[in-house]
C-alpha cells in the first residue's frame, strides 16, 4: 500500500492506494502546525491498519512555501562574484550580502581572478553577525564553478551549511541563481529540522517505507535528500493535481486540467500524457527562482469565494474568501451556497444558502434558483476567461529557430478534466463556458493526494561542452571534466544519460524504469578566421514526470 498526502490551505487530503484502487481517502483540517497536521492526517488515515503494509509514503507539503511567506527563514550570508554587467548590488538579498571582485566570461574562461582578500573579509563580516549559513554564487558559474569553489574553500568550516549556486540548476540566470541559492541556504536549518521531525513521527508509527516529498515539477525527491535542496519542494500543490490527473485519466490529446478548490482554481495542460513545463523557474512570493516547475496557473476562484453584486448587475466572484459558505455559517454568499440552493449538494443549512441567493437576486428581480444558476454560469465564465489568458500566454512564448516559427504549433485543448471538491457540480457549466468536452474522474476530490502518492522521482541535468576549451560540465551533478576535440553530440547524449540516471538514483529513484527526454539539444560549430576550431554542445535532459510502476497505466 502507498500513502499519499497533500496539504492544502484549509484541508489536508490523504489517500491509501492498493494496486489501482484508492482504498481509503480522508480529509483533515490543516492547522498552523504542519507537523501536527501531518501526524493527525496519517493517524486518521491509517486507523488500525498494519503500518508494515505501507510500502511507500509521499507528501506534498507547504513547509517551504509557508516558511517563505511567513518569513521564518534563517538569515543567510551571501558572497557573490559578478564582474561587469548589471550591478550585482541590485540583487542584494538577506542581511549580509557581499560582492567580491573576479570575473568569468560567458564561456567560462576566467577573465579576472577572484579577490581572495575581499572574500576573506566578507566571510568575517558575515561571521561577525553570527550568521550560520552561507550562499556563494558566481556569474556564469554553470559554465565554470571555479569561483564558487574558491569562495567555499576560503570560507572553510566557518558555517553550518553552504549552498553553491551552480548546483541549483544549470540554467543561465544570475539574479535567480542568487535568489535560489539564498533560499536554499536560509531554509536549510528549517528543512533539516522538519525532515528529522517527520522521520521521527513516521518511525514512531513504525512507518519505515521510503519517504518522498513532491516537487513543483510533478516528480518526487527522497525526504532525506531535501535538506540541502529545500526550494525544490516548494509549491508542489498544483503539481499534485496534475499528477492526480495523469493517474486517473489517460489524458490523450491536449487535456486542460482544472482543479477547483475552496479558494483557488489551478489550471495546467497535458499533451498526450506529458504535462507542459514552465519555461521559467517558479516564483515564490517575491522571489523569482530557478526551480523547475510544471506550467500551472492559479486563480482566486473556488467554491468558497465571496460573491458580490457589482455595478450593472455583474457578479464578482473572488478572489477573496471571507470564510465558510453561508450554509455553514459564513458571512457572504459563495458558489457552494449556489450549489446547495440548486440541490446539487446537501451540506449545512439549506435555508441560509437560499437566503444568500435571494439577497443577491432581489436587486435583479430574479428567483433564488435563477440566481444560483447565474452564479455558477458566472463562475464558469471567469474560469474560462482565465483559461483563455493562460493559453494565450503559452502560445506567445518566443521561439528561436526558423523551424519552430514555421511549425507554429499552437496549444489548443481538446477536452477538459475537472477535479477538486466542487468538480461534479460545476463541470457542466465549465464545459459549456469553455465549449469543450469535459470529464470528471473518479476520486476527483482527492486527486491531489493520489498524485503525490504515485508520482515518481524526477530530475534534470544541463550539459555544456566546449571542445575548444576542452571541457564538459554538468553543474547539477557537480561534474566537470576534460574532453578531446572529438567529443561530439552522440557522446554528449550518452554522458548526459549516464549522469541523469545517477542523479535520479541519488534523489531516490528505485526500481522504476527511468523515462528520459532530451528537452534541448544544440550543436554549434565555433569558427575563427573561417576555420572550425571547436564545437559548442548544449543539452538539457530530464527524467520526465510520470507514475510509479505499481500504479497501473490506464
Amino acid at each position: 500500500m502507498i500513502l499519499g498526502l497533500d496539504v492544502g490551505g484549509t484541508q489536508t487530503d490523504t489517500v491509501l492506494v492498493e494496486g489501482d484502487r484508492v482504498i481509503r481517502a480522508t480529509k483533515t483540517p490543516t492547522s498552523d502546525n504542519l507537523l501536527e497536521t501531518l501526524r493527525t492526517a496519517v493517524d486518521v488515515t491509517l486507523g488500525d491498519l498494519d503500518p508494515g503494509a505501507i510500502e511507500r509514503l509521499a507528501f506534498s507539503t507547504t513547509m517551504v512555501t509557508n516558511a517563505i511567506m511567513q518569513d521564518q527563514m534563517e538569515p543567510a550570508g551571501m558572497m557573490v562574484s559578478a564582474g561587469p554587467g548589471m550591478d550585482p548590488a541590485w540583487f542584494s538579498i538577506g542581511p549580509s550580502y557581499h560582492t567580491v571582485g573576479g570575473c568569468l566570461d560567458h564561456q567560462g574562461y576566467e577573465v579576472k581572478p577572484l579577490d581572495r582578500n575581499a572574500a576573506l573579509k566578507a566571510v568575517s563580516r558575515i561571521r561577525e553577525r553570527h550568521i550560520r549559513v552561507l550562499g556563494v554564487v558566481g556569474k556564469f558559474s554553470v559554465r565554470n564553478p571555479l569561483h564558487e569553489f574558491q569562495m567555499a574553500e576560503w570560507a572553510g568550516d566557518a558555517f553550518l551549511h553552504m549552498a553553491l549556486g551552480h548546483q541549483v540548476s544549470g540554467t543561465l540566470n544570475f539574479p535567480r541563481r542568487i535568489t535560489t541559492t539564498y533560499l536554499n541556504a536560509a531554509l536549510y536549518p528549517l528543512q533539516k529540522q522538519f525532515s528529522q521531525a517527520l522521520v521521527q513521527i513516521l518511525d514512531e508509527k513504525a512507518l519505515s517505507a521510503p519517504r518522498y516529498l513532491l516537487k513543483p515539477d510533478g516528480g518526487t525527491l527522497e525526504l532525506g535528500k531535501s535538506d540541502t535542496l529545500p526550494v525544490r519542494t516548494a509549491q508542489s500543490g498544483p503539481a499534485a493535481s496534475v499528477m492526480g490527473a495523469l493517474a486517473l485519466d489517460d489524458c490523450k490529446g491536449t487535456t486542460l486540467v482544472l482543479d477547483v478548490g475552496g479558494t483557488t482554481t489551478d489550471m495546467a495542460v497535458i499533451l498526450d500524457g506529458v504535462p507542459l513545463f514552465s519555461p521559467h523557474g517558479i516564483k515564490l512570493g517575491p522571489y523569482q527562482t530557478l526551480i523547475r516547475s510544471l506550467l500551472t496557473h492559479s486563480m482566486g476562484v473556488g467554491g468558497d469565494s465571496e460573491i458580490r453584486a457589482g455595478r450593472n448587475g455583474k457578479l464578482k466572484i473572488g478572489p477573496l474568501r471571507k470564510g465558510s459558505p453561508m450554509a455553514l455559517g459564513g458571512p457572504a454568499p459563495t458558489p457552494t451556497d449556489a450549489m446547495i440552493a440548486l440541490d446539487l449538494l446537501n451540506v449545512g443549512k439549506r435555508e441560509d444558502a437560499v437566503g444568500g441567493m435571494i439577497k443577491l437576486g432581489a436587486p435583479l428581480g430574479i428567483s433564488d434558483k435563477a440566481m444560483a444558476q447565474m452564479v455558477l454560469t458566472a463562475m464558469a465564465q471567469r474560469i474560462a476567461d482565465a483559461v483563455d489568458a493562460f493559453l494565450y500566454e503559452i502560445n506567445s512564448q518566443p521561439v528561436y529557430t526558423v523551424h519552430e516559427v514555421l511549425e507554429d504549433t499552437k496549444i489548443e485543448p481538446t477536452s477538459v478534466l475537472i477535479m477538486g471538491g466542487p468538480a461534479r457540480h460545476i463541470s457542466w457549466y465549465v464545459g459549456n463556458a469553455l465549449k469543450l468536452p469535459y470529464r470528471v474522474p473518479t476520486h476527483y476530490d482527492v486527486a491531489n493526494a493520489l498524485g503525490a502518492a504515485v508520482a515518481r522521482v524526477t530530475t534534470s541535468v544541463t550539459l555544456q561542452a566546449d571542445t575548444e576549451r576542452g571541457t564538459v560540465i554538468i553543474p547539477e551533478a557537480n561534474l566537470e571534466k576534460d574532453v578531446t576535440p572529438r567529443f561530439d553530440l552522440d557522446q554528449a547524449v550518452i554522458l548526459g544519460r549516464q549522469v541523469l540516471e545517477e542523479q535520479a538514483r541519488l534523489m531516490g529513484a528505485e526500481q522504476e524504469t527511468l523515462e528520459m527526454a532530451v528537452t534541448e539539444k544544440q550543436l554549434f560549430n565555433m569558427i575563427r578566421q573561417g576555420r572550425i576550431t571547436g564545437r559548442n554542445i548544449r543539452l538539457k535532459m530530464s527524467v520526465i514526470p510520470g507514475l510509479i510502476p505499481q500504479w497501473p497505466r490506464r
Binding site: 564582474g83 561587469p84 554587467g85 548589471m86 550591478d87 541590485w90 540583487f91 570575473c103 566570461d105 560567458h106 564561456q107 577573465v111 579576472k112 556569474k139 556564469f140 540554467t171 543561465l172 540566470n173 544570475f174 539574479p175 535567480r176 521559467h280 517575491p286 523569482q288 506567445s396 512564448q397 518566443p398 521561439v399 528561436y400 529557430t401 526558423v402 523551424h403 516559427v405 514555421l406 544544440q522 554549434f524 560549430n525 565555433m526 569558427i527 573561417g530 576555420r531 572550425i532 559548442n536
Partner: protein, 439 residues
Amino acid sequence: MIKAARKTGLIFFPAFDWAITPNHPEREERLLYTQDQVLEEGLLDIDGIVEYRVRPARFKDIQRVHFCVPDEAAVTTESHLISAGGCLVAADAVQKGEVESAFALVRPPGHHAMRVVHGNRGFCNINIEAVMIEYLRETYGIRKVAIVDTDCHHGDGSQDIYWHDPNTLFISLHQDGRTLYPGSGFPEEDGGPNARGATVNIPLPPGTGEQGFLFVMDELVMPLLQAFGPEIVINSAGQDNHFNDPITNMNFSAQGYAKLNARLRPDIAVLEGGYAVENALPYVNVGIIMAMAGLDTSTVKEPNYDTDYRDQPAKITSYIEQLVETLRGRFLAETVRENPGEEGEVVERSRDIYYDTDGIHERQHEKIRTCSECAGALSIASTSNRGQHMLAVHIPVRACTACQEIGHAWFDQGIKGPFSHVYLQDRVNKVYRRAGGNA
C-alpha cells in the same frame, strides 16, 4: 524586483538553425553568446522588459519596398522573412502602446539591401528596417520617419531606398568609405532631387572612440532630428564599430553604444551587422537593452575594456570637430532644400551595383520626376550579369496626380519594351504588379 524606467519590447530571433554558408560570419552561432549574456544577466526578468514571439513577414510586406528579381521567393529564405517579421512585431508593440520602445534583435540583417534585389549584398537580402517603416506607414499612417544607422558600414541599401523620399531622414554614421566596404557614404551623397538634405552621411575616421561618436550625436545627429521632427525614430543598430571587431577599425564600446542609445532614445532599434560574436555583441546588446529600458548602464563593460580600450587620439578629435562643423553648415543651414531641377523635369542617373556575397553585377538606369508635391515617380531599369533585364516603376505614398500618371505611363510602356520583367509598385492604390515584358 528591478523596474524599467521605460517599458521596452524585446524581439529576439537568433535563427539558431540558419546560416548563409557554414563558415560565413552570418551563421547559427552569431547570437548564441548574446543570448547567454542576456539570460545570465536576467534581463528578461526585469519588470518592464517584455519579450515577444516573432512572426514571418509576408511577401506583400516586402513588395511595398522591394522589386525582387525575378520574385520574392527567389531572393529570400524563411529566415529573411522572419527577421523582417520580427521588426513588424516591434512596430506593432510600439504603435499599440504596449511598450514605449522596442529592440528587434534579429538576424539576418538588412541595411545593404537596396530597392531592387537581385541577390545578397553585404549579408543582406531584404531591408528589414524599410519593410518595417513602410508597414508603419501603411498600417498606422506614420508619415515622417528618421533612421539613424550606427553600423560601421555605410547603410547604402537604406540610403538607396529613401534617396528620393523627403519624409524619411536617413542619417548614417560609419567608418569612412575610403577605408571600408561598401566604399560609399560621403557627405556629397545627400539625397535625390526631391529629397535633398534628407540623406546625411557622416564618414568617421578609423579609430573613432566613444568621445567622437557621442560628440557627433550631440552636435549633429540630435540637432538634425530636432530640425526634422520625425514621428518615429529608428536605430539601425549595427555593432561593428566595436574595438573588438575583427573586420573594422573603429574604437567604440558597449558603454558607448549604451550612451548613444540613451541620447537617441529610438522608438525602435534593429540589429544590423556586428560579427565579434563572443567579445562585443554580448556586451553591446546588454548595454542597448538596458539603455532602452532606462536602466543605469555604468557597470556594463567588456571584460577586456580596462586593458584594451583606448581613448581616441587628439588628431581624430579635431578631425571630427572639423567634419561636424562642415556638416552642420551643409545640413542645418536654411538654404539646403532647394530643388535643383524644374518642376516636372525628369532627372536621370546610371550606376553600377555589386553584390559581394552573391557576386552579381547590376547596372541601373534611374529616372525620377522632379516634384515639389510628393517624392516623385521613379523608374529603374536594371540589368544583371545573370541575364535579368527588368524595369521597375515606383509610385510613392501620397504621390501627386501627375506623378501617378507618369508612373502608370512608364509601366505601360515598359510592358511593351525589351524587358524580361516589368514591375509596378503603386503605393497610392496599393497595387503591386509583375508582368512579363516583351523580351
